[in-house]
Symmetry: C2
Subunit: 653 residues, 2 copies
C-alpha cells in the first residue's frame, strides 16, 4: 500500500492526457530547475531548514539536516513521510525512551500538520531502499522535532489519486495547490515565463513596460468591465489588451516593448475562459511580418521546457484560405491528416439529387474527408452521431460512403454515388481499405466548416477506440496568415467590421482594393496555432494617420473622437511597427497537457466567473457605492430577491 | 548652437536633482545594458536596420549600414542628425546631382519625421569630430533614403531643454516618452526589475505566480475600486495588494512566491499617488524577520544599477520608538543628523512658563533640534515660517534659541532660557558656533512629530541656501522595526485598529500582553526606508488560526465571515510564513532621482486620477451600464450638469 501510492506520487508527473513524462527519476522542481539554467537556485537560503525534503540523496549521508514540511503519511508509528514542494523523504521516528517527547510530537500530529525535524541523513537498511522514490536510498534519523502547526480534519486528502470535483478543488484551492500536478504546472509556468523574459530582455533588448489597466472604453469594446470613479457618471474600463498603449510606446520611440500583461474580458459565462487572463504582449518598430515570426519562433524555442521535445523552427505557415479549404477552420490541428478535399469535379455530371442541386448554385461545392480505418473503428452509431451533429449545428446533410469496405448499411444514395464515382473518389482521396468518406455539399465556407468540425470529432472517436492520431508528445506549431481585413457585420452584412481590430495594416498587395473592393483586401494579421489551438495573434499595424482615419471613419463608420489621441499620435512621427500577443494561460495549458486553463492558474474563477474560495463577486452595502455615484438597478424579476435582501447588507448571501 | 544642444542631450542624463551621473561618455541604454549583463543584447535583430544610431563608433568605419530613426536636427541642408532610442548620429546629405532624390527626401522631411537611410560609416573630417557626442568621430555617407512617416507640426519640441508643463507632457505622453530622461527612467526600471527576477527566480528558487485582481472586498477595504458584475448587486473589488493570496499560496505549499504585482488604491485626489501602482510582492514559508531582511538586502544589492554607488549590506535598523524619538517619524532620512534631543531634564527647574506647564503634565517633555550653521544660513523669515508651520499644522509652539550666535532677535523667553540653561544645552546638543536650537514642549509623540517635520523643512531651507546636507549620490537604507501591533482608532480611541494589517504576527516577547495590554504589544512588522521614504514593508504573519480569530473578532471586532476562507486555511496546515512588498514606483523614482513617480511610469494618471491623453475616466451611455445592473446616482448639486448632459451620451464632455 505504502509503496503503491508513493510510487504513484513520484510518477505523478505524467500529463493528464496519459503521456508518461521523462520525470520519473527526479522530483519535478529539481528537474525544472536543473534543466533550465546552469546555476542551481538555493532553495533553502534565508529560512529555518538546511535542505528541502526532496533533494536528499546518498551524497548527503551523515549530514545533520533540518527539514520543514507536511506529514504526508505515517506507518505504525515507526516511519513518517515528510513532504515539501520538492518531494518526499522518510523520517524514522525514534523509539527509545530518551526521545519520548520527539516520538510523541511525531506520532500525535495529524496528517498534513506542519513539522520541523532535525537529524542525520542515514542509509536505509539493505533491502529497504525504494528505487521509485528519488530519496529512496536514505532516511532521516531524527534528534529533535517541533510541531509548527497542527492540521484539522481536511475536506479531502492531499493525494493525487484521491478524486475531487473541480468545485471542491476550487473551494479549497490552497489545499489543491499542494498536489504535485498543480505544483508542476505553476512552477513550469514561472520558469517558462522567466526564460521568455531572458530571451526578450537580455538577448534582444526588449523593454518591459507596464501599461495602465484603468483605461477608457474602446470603440466597440462591449466586453470591457466598467469601474465607476468618484466623478459622477465617469467610468474607467479594464482593457482587453494593451493594444493602444503598445502602439503609443512605438510612437514614443521605445522601439521594443514587451509585457506579461493582465487583460480583462467580460464574456459572462463561458467554459474555459477567464474574466482575467495573461498575455505575452510584444511590439516592435521597423519590423515586418517575417521579423515578428522569427522573434516568436526563437522565443518559444528558447523558453521551451527541456523535458519536452525541442521546438523545431521555422514553423510552417498556411494562408487563411488554405486553412479553411483543407481543415475547415482558421486554427488547423496539423498533427494528423484527414484533410478536406474538394470533389466537386467528380460530381459535375452526377444524377444524385442533392449534389446536383448544390453544384447548380454559383458557390456550390462538394467536399469530403476520408477517415482512414474508419470502417474498422467506427460504429454505425458513431456515424449517425456525426451526421446529427452536422444537421443540428450546421444544418448540413452529411453522407457516409464506404468506397472499399463492404458495409451493408450504405444508404441507397451512397450506393449510387459509389457506383458512379467510386474509382475517381478512391484515386483523388487516396482511400485505403476500411476508409470511410464523409461527404457534404454546399457553399465553400459552410461545407468546409462542417467537415472541419467532423474531422476533429472523428479524431476524438478514433482515439477513444484506441487509435493514436495525435501524438501527445508532438507540438505542432503553425502560422496562419493572409486573413481578410474586413468581415461583413453579423447583424448587418451590408456593413463591414474588422476581422481582428481596426489598427491592422492591409496587405501591401491589396491596398489598391481598399477604395474599390474592401472585402477583398487581405490583412497583415497572423495567428500562431499550436495543435489546433490559437495561442497567439498579431499584425503589422497602420502607421499612416490618413489610412487609419479612412478605415475607421469611412469603412468602419466608427466614432473617431474616441481614438483622437491615437490618430494624432500617428501624425507625429509614428514609426512603422507591428506586434503580437501570446495567450499565456492557453500556451502553458498545452505545454503541461492540463485538461483546463484553470489548472495552470493559481486562483482561477469558475466558469460562471466566481471565486469559489472567497465568494467573489459579493454584495456590497449601499453606502460603499455612494462615493462612486452608482446604485444597483434590481431587475424586475428579482424583486422578490431584492425584498428578501431588504436593502441592508448580507455578507453571507 | 548645434554642439550646444547636442552636448546637452548627451549630457542629458544628469538626474533632475542636478547630480551629474557618470554617463557622459556613453549613451544611456548602451551603458545600462553593458553594465548589467555579460552578453550584449542584439538591438537590431528581426528589423529593417542593421545598427542603431547610437552604437556607431570608429570601429564601424567602412561598414554599410541601414539606420531607422527620427530627424532630430538639420543644418543648412548638409547635415542631418538622426535619433533613435540609443542615441544620435550625424548623416551627411549627398549634394551631387545623381543623388537628387535622396537629398530631396532628407531636406524636405519635417523635423521628427521617421526616415530610413542606408550608407557607409565614414570618419568625420579632421577637426570636425565632436568629443561630446558618443558617435562624434564618425558620420554616415548616405546612398539611399526613404521617408517612412512625415511628422506634422508638434505641440512641443522633442528637446530636453524645451520646458513643458506636466499637463502638456501627459497629454502628449507618446512625444514626452521620446525624451532622454523618460527613455532612461523606463529602461532602467525594466533592467532593474529583470535583475530582481533573476535574483529571486534563478538564484533563490522563487516562483513567479500571478494572483487575481478581480477579488472581493476585504474588511475595512474602504479604498478599493468596485467592479459591478453581471449578477445584480454583486461586485468584484480591485485589491490593494495580493496579501490574502500570497498567504494562501504559502498554505498551498508554494514555499517561495513573488510577483511584480499591480495593485489598486482609490484615494481620490492625492499628489504623487497613483490609483494603480506596482509592488514587488514576496512571501516565504519557514522564514523569520532576519531571513526576509537578508533576502531584500541581497535583492537590492544584486539589482542595483551599476552606474550608482554599490549598495552596502546589511542595512542598519532602528526601532519604531527610536525613529520617533530621534527623527519624529517612522521613516527617518538618515542621510543627515539634526536629531531630536530630549532636553526635559535641562528644564526641570525652569521658570519659563510654557515649559513649566508642559513638564508638569505626566507625559510632558521638552524637545529640541539643533540646526548647525543655522544662524549663518537661515533668515529671520525662515525661522518665522518654521514657527508658523508648527503652529498651523501641529498647534505647537516652537521657540528658536541662538545659544552661541549673537542675534538680536531672540525673544525675551528665549533670552531667559539662554541665561538659565545655555551651557547645559550647548553640552547636551553639541552646539557649535552659529547653531540654532528649535525647541518645543508637550507630549512625547507630538513634540517629536513637529520637530521631525521641522527637521526636514530646515534641510530644504539650508539646501536652498547652498549647503549640501543630503548627498544626492547617497542611498541611505534603514530598517524600522518593532512597530506597535495596534493603534487606537482615530474616530474612536477606545477601540483598536491594526497598525498595519490584521495578519501581522505579534512580537514573540509580547504575546503574553495580548490578553492584558494589547496596546503595548509590538508587532513583527518591518519597514524599509530609503532616504526618508518608505519603500517597503512587511511582516511575519499569524499562522495560528486561533490567534488570528482572537485578534480579528475579539480585539479588532471585525466580521470574521468575510475572512472565513483565510481562517479555515490556517486550520489546514498553514506553515509559519512572512513576506514583504516593495513599492516599485517609489523605489525607481528614488534611484533615478526623478522628481515624481509619474516620471517612472509610462502612462501615469494625473493627481486627479485622469489620463490626460485619452481622457479616462469617461462618460458611458446608460445602455452600457445595463448589463451590470447599475445606474448613475447624480448628486443633487450636479442637477444642472445632469440636465445639461440630458442623460444621453456625450463622449466629448
Amino acid at each position: 500500500m505504502f509503496s503503491c501510492w508513493l510510487s504513484r506520487l513520484c510518477r505523478g508527473l505524467s500529463t493528464p492526457t496519459g503521456r508518461v513524462t521523462h520525470l520519473i527519476q527526479g522530483s519535478l522542481s529539481r528537474r525544472l530547475m536543473l534543466s533550465s539554467q546552469r546555476r542551481i537556485p538555493e532553495l533553502s537560503s534565508f529560512v529555518a531548514r538546511t535542505n528541502t525534503c526532496g533533494e536528499l540523496r546518498s551524497s548527503h549521508l551523515g549530514q545533520e539536516v533540518t527539514l520543514c514540511g507536511w506529514i504526508q503519511y505515517r506507518r505504525q508509528n515507526i516511519f513518517l513521510v515528510l513532504r515539501d514542494f520538492h518531494g518526499l523523504v522518510q523520517v524514522v521516528i525514534p523509539q527509545d525512551e530518551s526521545a519520548a517527547s520527539v516520538k510523541k510530537i511525531l506520532c500525535e500530529a495529524p496528517m498534513e500538520s506542519v513539522v520541523q525535524v532535525s537529524g542525520t541523513v542515514i542509509s536505509r537498511p539493505p533491502g529497504q531502499e525504494n528505487p521509485k522514490m528519488p530519496t529512496g536510498e536514505i532516511e532521516i534519523k531524527v534528534k529533535s522535532a517541533q510541531l509548527l502547526n497542527a492540521c484539522k480534519k481536511l475536506p479531502f486528502e492531499i493525494k493525487d489519486f484521491v478524486k475531487k470535483t473541480e468545485a471542491l478543488r476550487l473551494q479549497y484551492r490552497y489545499l489543491d495547490l499542494r498536489s504535485f500536478q498543480m505544483q508542476y504546472n505553476l512552477r513550469l509556468r514561472s520558469r517558462m515565463v522567466m526564460k521568455m523574459r531572458e530571451y526578450l530582455c537580455n538577448l534582444h533588448g526588449f523593454v518591459d513596460i507596464e501599461t495602465p489597466t484603468l483605461f477608457k472604453r474602446t470603440p466597440g469594446g462591449a466586453k470591457e468591465f466598467v469601474i465607476p470613479s468618484r466623478e459622477p457618471g465617469k467610468f474607467y474600463c479594464l482593457p482587453q489588451s494593451p493594444q493602444q498603449f503598445k502602439q503609443l510606446l512605438m510612437v514614443g520611440g521605445l522601439d521594443r516593448y514587451f509585457q506579461v500583461a493582465r487583460c480583462y474580458r467580460d464574456e459572462g459565462s463561458r467554459p474555459d475562459r477567464q474574466p482575467e487572463f495573461t498575455q505575452i504582449d510584444i511590439e516592435m518598430s521597423f519590423v515586418d511580418q517575417i521579423g515578428i515570426r522569427s522573434l516568436i519562433e526563437g522565443l518559444l524555442q528558447y523558453s521551451w521546457p527541456s523535458d519536452k521535445d525541442p521546438v523545431v523552427v521555422p514553423f510552417p505557415s498556411m494562408t487563411f484560405a488554405e486553412a479553411l479549404a483543407s481543415y475547415g477552420t482558421d486554427k488547423p490541428d496539423t498533427r494528423f491528416g484527414m484533410k478536406i478535399v474538394d470533389i466537386s469535379d467528380v460530381f459535375r455530371n452526377t444524377k444524385v439529387g442533392f449534389l446536383q442541386d448544390a453544384l447548380s448554385k454559383p458557390q456550390g461545392t462538394v467536399k469530403a474527408i476520408c477517415i482512414s480505418e474508419g470502417a474498422k473503428y467506427l460504429k454505425r452509431k458513431d456515424i449517425e452521431s456525426l451526421r446529427k451533429l452536422a444537421a443540428d449545428h450546421f444544418n448540413q446533410e452529411v453522407l457516409p460512403v464506404f468506397p472499399k469496405a463492404n458495409r451493408n448499411w450504405n444508404s441507397p444514395v451512397a450506393k449510387s454515388i459509389m457506383e458512379e464515382q467510386r474509382s475517381e473518389l478512391i484515386r483523388l482521396m487516396e482511400i485505403q481499405e476500411d476508409g470511410v468518406v464523409l461527404l457534404t455539399a454546399g457553399e465553400h465556407r459552410k461545407a468546409c466548416s462542417v467537415l472541419g468540425k467532423l474531422r476533429l470529432e472523428c479524431a476524438d472517436l478514433l482515439e477513444a477506440r484506441g487509435l493514436v492520431l495525435r501524438d501527445p508528445a508532438l507540438f505542432s506549431f503553425l502560422w496562419v496568415v493572409d486573413f481578410p481585413l474586413f468581415l461583413p457585420k453579423e447583424e448587418n452584412p451590408g456593413e463591414l467590421e474588422s476581422a481582428h481590430h481596426p489598427f491592422t495594416a492591409p496587405h501591401p498587395s491589396d491596398i489598391h482594393l481598399l477604395h474599390t473592393e474592401p472585402k477583398q483586401v487581405r490583412s497583415q494579421h497572423y495567428d500562431l496555432v499550436l495543435n489546433g489551438n490559437e495561442i497567439g495573434g498579431g499584425s503589422i499595424r497602420i502607421h499612416d494617420a490618413e489610412l487609419q482615419r479612412y478605415i475607421l471613419a469611412t469603412l468602419l463608420k466608427e466614432d473617431v473622437k474616441l481614438l483622437s489621441h491615437l490618430l494624432q499620435a500617428l501624425d507625429f512621427g509614428a514609426p512603422p511597427h507591428g506586434g503580437i500577443a501570446l495567450g499565456l494561460d492557453r500556451l502553458i495549458c498545452l505545454v503541461t497537457g492540463a485538461p483546463s486553463i484553470r489548472d495552470v492558474i493559481a486562483f482561477p474563477k469558475s466558469f460562471r466567473g466566481h471565486d469559489l474560495m472567497s465568494n467573489a463577486p459579493d454584495s456590497l452595502p449601499p453606502e460603499e457605492l455612494k462615493p462612486y455615484h452608482i446604485q444597483v438597478s434590481w431587475p424586475a424579476d428579482s424583486e422578490a430577491e431584492k425584498s428578501s435582501l431588504n436593502q441592508p447588507y448580507h455578507p453571507e448571501s
